[in-house]
Amino acid sequence: MTDPLSPLDRPNSYIGRTVPRPNLERLVEGRGTYVSDMTLPRMGHVVFVRSPYAHARILDIDTTAAKQCAGVIAVVTGAELAEQCSPWVGVLSHLKGLKSAPQHAMAIDRACWQGEAVCAVVAATRAQAEDAAEQVQVQYQELEPVTDMRTALEPHIPLIHPELGDNLAFERSLDAGEVDKAFAEADAVAEAEFVFGRHTGVTLEARAILADWNPGERRLTVYQGTQAPHMMQNIFAKHLALEEAQVRVVCKDVGGSFGIKVHVYADEMATAALSKRLKRPVKFVADRIESFVTDIHARDHVCKGRIAVKQDGTITAFAIDDLTGIGPYSMYPRTSAIEANQVVNLVGGPYQTRNYRARTRVVFQNKNVMCQYRAVGHPIACSVTEGLVDLAARAIGMDPLAIRTKNLILDDAYPTDSPSGLKFEALSHHASLAKLKQMMDYDGLRAEQKRLRQQGIYRGIGIASFIEVTNPSAAFYGVGGARISSQDGVSVRMDATGAIIVQTSLTEQGQGSEALTAQVVASALGVALDKVRVILGDTDNTPYGGGTWASRGAGIGGEAAWQAGKALRMNILKVAGTILQTVPETLDIDQGVVIDKETGRERIGLDEVARITYFRPDTLPADFQAELLVTRHYVPRQYPFAFTNGIQGSWLEVDTETGFITLLNHWCVEDCGTIINPQLVDEQIRGGVVQGLGAALFEHCRYDESGQLTNGTMADYLVPMASEMPDIEVGHVVSPTLESELGAKGAGEAGTAGAAAAVANAVNDALDPFDVTITEIPLTPSVVLKALNQRRS
């Protein structure tokens, strides 16, 4: 045998192979276990009475009639539940100056957004609880709501939390290089105000939790659709006055998360507190209307941007002034300042210029809470950056691809950093751009565009380069004081038949954590994939770790799985070496059989190694102890984040009479390093792109001036559907991170990061003959028509 090219180059490796996911059959046959489906003996269903007002004082809650209703177990007000559950404040120490007010599981004397829970009704069935909830009489005194983030800081606007002194939650400024000089010496300056519609991540399965306080063992078991079971274990313990050891969080099948299910929701805390109070299992499943008014929203930003450019195409500065409204509280424990902070970090990130000035302000408002949703901050930063780059190109009459080629950080410039201090290990902007150009046949599309324009058909090409934060180290949350682990652990053991059992701290919500873990372990060990069973999502039965969010699963949990698999292989080979009386280093495992590394000759099956280990240890030397369970942990140390990069292209048609946009094709080239399962990565990219396209064209949580959400149903809140989606072609450039052996970086958010920017640029490209520039999403027919009509009149 020749020397392996890399440690990954194993016999029959599953790394880089598309193989079916181990959980596929179970899920498609309807044999999954979602919290929504679970029932426990003596279980009560909780329904929350929610504030119909955006801002109101709670004068009185009369629960008398509700308590008389059929099937009712308990009716509990916010004040009563505060006996079980202490409030929290969503701040982190590394986000300097971030402030928020204490938030309770249910409002006590004041409701701060439409949808905030003020009273809980627990009954034998959900329908009975809903019947009784209608009988709860709440007297409200309406207060003036703060809804417009643009005026939230003005002196005549009421303060949502008077004790904080103002409505400003967080502010950050950055000034790098010589921005004023760059603008003064620019040949052209372009500027625009970019407006982003507040939207949310609509999961197929709504938020669901089943909490079971067992007074007999003084333990709380929480079945929850969450991305971070260990984080939740800590939070439940802390606010319900328990030790962490008294709390078990079990995360079975989850119907989608997208960052929505990584936060601490007041109604979920209330559900756990109710279980403790009532000493019985209590279940809460959000219905769709509740989801729209309580699942975190995201992306509500107005960002002014300026760009300076020389006539030769050299971009010499970016400057932004960003404003975002986050609802009445900073979300706990990850805070609602991260998104704005990411915008400051990421704008201009793919480009060479060192001149960058930024400010962001994060304000409170009486709307649903905002927090991290897939690709946190990236779509804002990417849309602003790439929108500005296109404006600059237009100002000097340069082709959009040409200006990017001129300004993207060169592929041989690494390691390097950004003006905002981001460290880049190795990116591939130019290789990605070249690949995109070839995949989309850029020159051919330009020719087609020109030809069709003569027939009155307006098609546009949009390009968007991006960088993406993945594999976050402790720099993300840990350094700020949050007990959110950035490391992951994986235990691998061989059972008495030679089968492999893996326990990982990653979680699975549909993205393939289970599949990638099995593939990595099977490859590291040298066993068939169907010999590997993965256990995840249980704080009692997995190593401690972060879970699945921020594109960290493959890069961090995957590396821990790789190291654990390798260590177990060596331990198995030690047993085999002892049995075979040979040096373990001369052996390897292939397809579940111990072989001679040199010749490939089969020596002993793993089932036989296991049999001897577990049942005939008497035949092994007295001084030898087999260890067929190993655990390894991993966390990135060298780089705070493993940045990835990519570029997207959009090809679309604008109907200039109706304002309708038809997406014709979409391309995404990305570089997530080592690819473990190509199909899973491609579908992650496609799914991410679709959510970005949803933001570009459809998704919008629309509030009126009084703070009422006006479109909280699936009929009115438009999610992207298959009929409107174009083909999405995915290409890869592979630059593995050298920090880990696996070399994997994240792929979960790349699609979402750049899709809306590419679409917006394509729309403006299509409308170029009309001299129209639109910098607002979603790009609804009304928005497009309004812009065209303004120009026509």
Binding site: D131, E657, N711, T713, M721, E724, T780, S782
Partner: protein, 288 residues
């Protein structure tokens, strides 16, 4: 959310259904396909005490024809209309429209009668009924009566049906040879409620003696036959010459509403575009 508790009974005959409906008074509600009713129940927008299931009544089923009319049972499901050769031959407008009605799963269960009786102003089929001059056969305790489609739709979710009446059958006159029809709607996504839609039937020649029935939907509280616009087209020497006047005349025919999808100006603009494109399609059919 879960629906309020209600009783359910499956009617055995049309007569039985009528009796149940009368006995239930205000608390009774007919259910056929349930595709609009069940969501409304689950949202607790409706709280009937008794649901009377008429989905299985043979008297409400069937697609038939005689020398003058096509007869569609009110219980006919959308999918049956979409796949019926007779409907395809005689009422192509209906099959064009049904493709835009929600999604396949909904079309499999939703019924024609339920669609019409629900009277959603953004619904496709009510507009087609007006364009095709359908007649609704309605049965009540006092017997049978016939309501022309133009008088059936009274407003937002409002029809000429009394609380104790059942829509039994829809009869549509056979179209003369050479009749052309056009259907188009502007919806944000396939299957969504239209921001504006147009069902249009034309009889006669491109120039001279022509009858044209443009019916708009998704604009205003009910489908509207644009009489003024039609007149402009009919009075023009050539249809196409009448377009601009017809577009202007839409201001007399339509009262577009403001809603989440579009303001009234945008809707009017979309209606004009639909009329222009519809006319172009009809003319192209004449040439083809």
């Amino acid at each position: 959310m879960k629906a309020y508790a209600f009783d359910y009974v499956r009617a055995t005959t049309l007569e039985d259904a009528l009796a149940l409906l009368e006995r239930a008074g205000d608390g009774g509600k007919l259910i056929a396909g349930g595709q609009s009713l069940v969501p409304a129940l689950n949202l607790r927008l409706l709280a009937p005490q008794l649901l009377i299931d008429i989905a299985h009544l043979a008297e409400l089923r069937g697609i038939s024809s005689d020398d003058t009319h096509i007869h569609l049972g009110a219980g006919t499901r959308h999918v049956e209309l979409a796949t019926s050769p007779l409907v395809g031959q005689t009422l192509p407008l209906l099959q064009m429209a049904i493709r835009h009605v929600a999604h396949a799963a909904i079309r499999n269960r939703g019924t024609l009668g339920g669609n019409l009786a629900h009277a959603d102003p953004a619904s496709e089929l009510p507009a087609c009924m007006i364009a095709l001059e359908a007649v609704m056969l309605v049965l009540g305790p006092k017997g049978e009566r016939q309501v022309p489609a133009g008088e059936f739709f009274k407003g937002l979710y409002e029809t000429a049906l009394e609380a104790d009446e059942i829509l039994v059958r829809i009869s549509i006159p056979r179209s003369p040879a050479g009749t052309r029809c056009h259907f188009n709607e502007l919806a944000r996504r396939a299957g969504d409620y239209a921001m504006a839609g147009l069902a249009m039937v034309m009889q006669g020649q491109d120039s001279g003696d022509v009858q044209i029935r443009p019916v708009f939907f998704g604009i205003g509280d009910r489908p509207v036959l644009a009489r003024h616009a039609a007149l402009c087209l009919q009075q023009a020497e050539n249809l196409i010459d009448g377009l601009e006047a017809a577009q202007q005349a839409l201001a007399l025919d339509l009262q577009p509403q403001d809603d989440l999808q579009a303001d009234s100006d945008t809707r009017m603009q979309l209606a004009k575009v639909l009329l222009k494109r519809g006319l172009a399609d009809l003319l192209a059919q004449g040439r083809g």
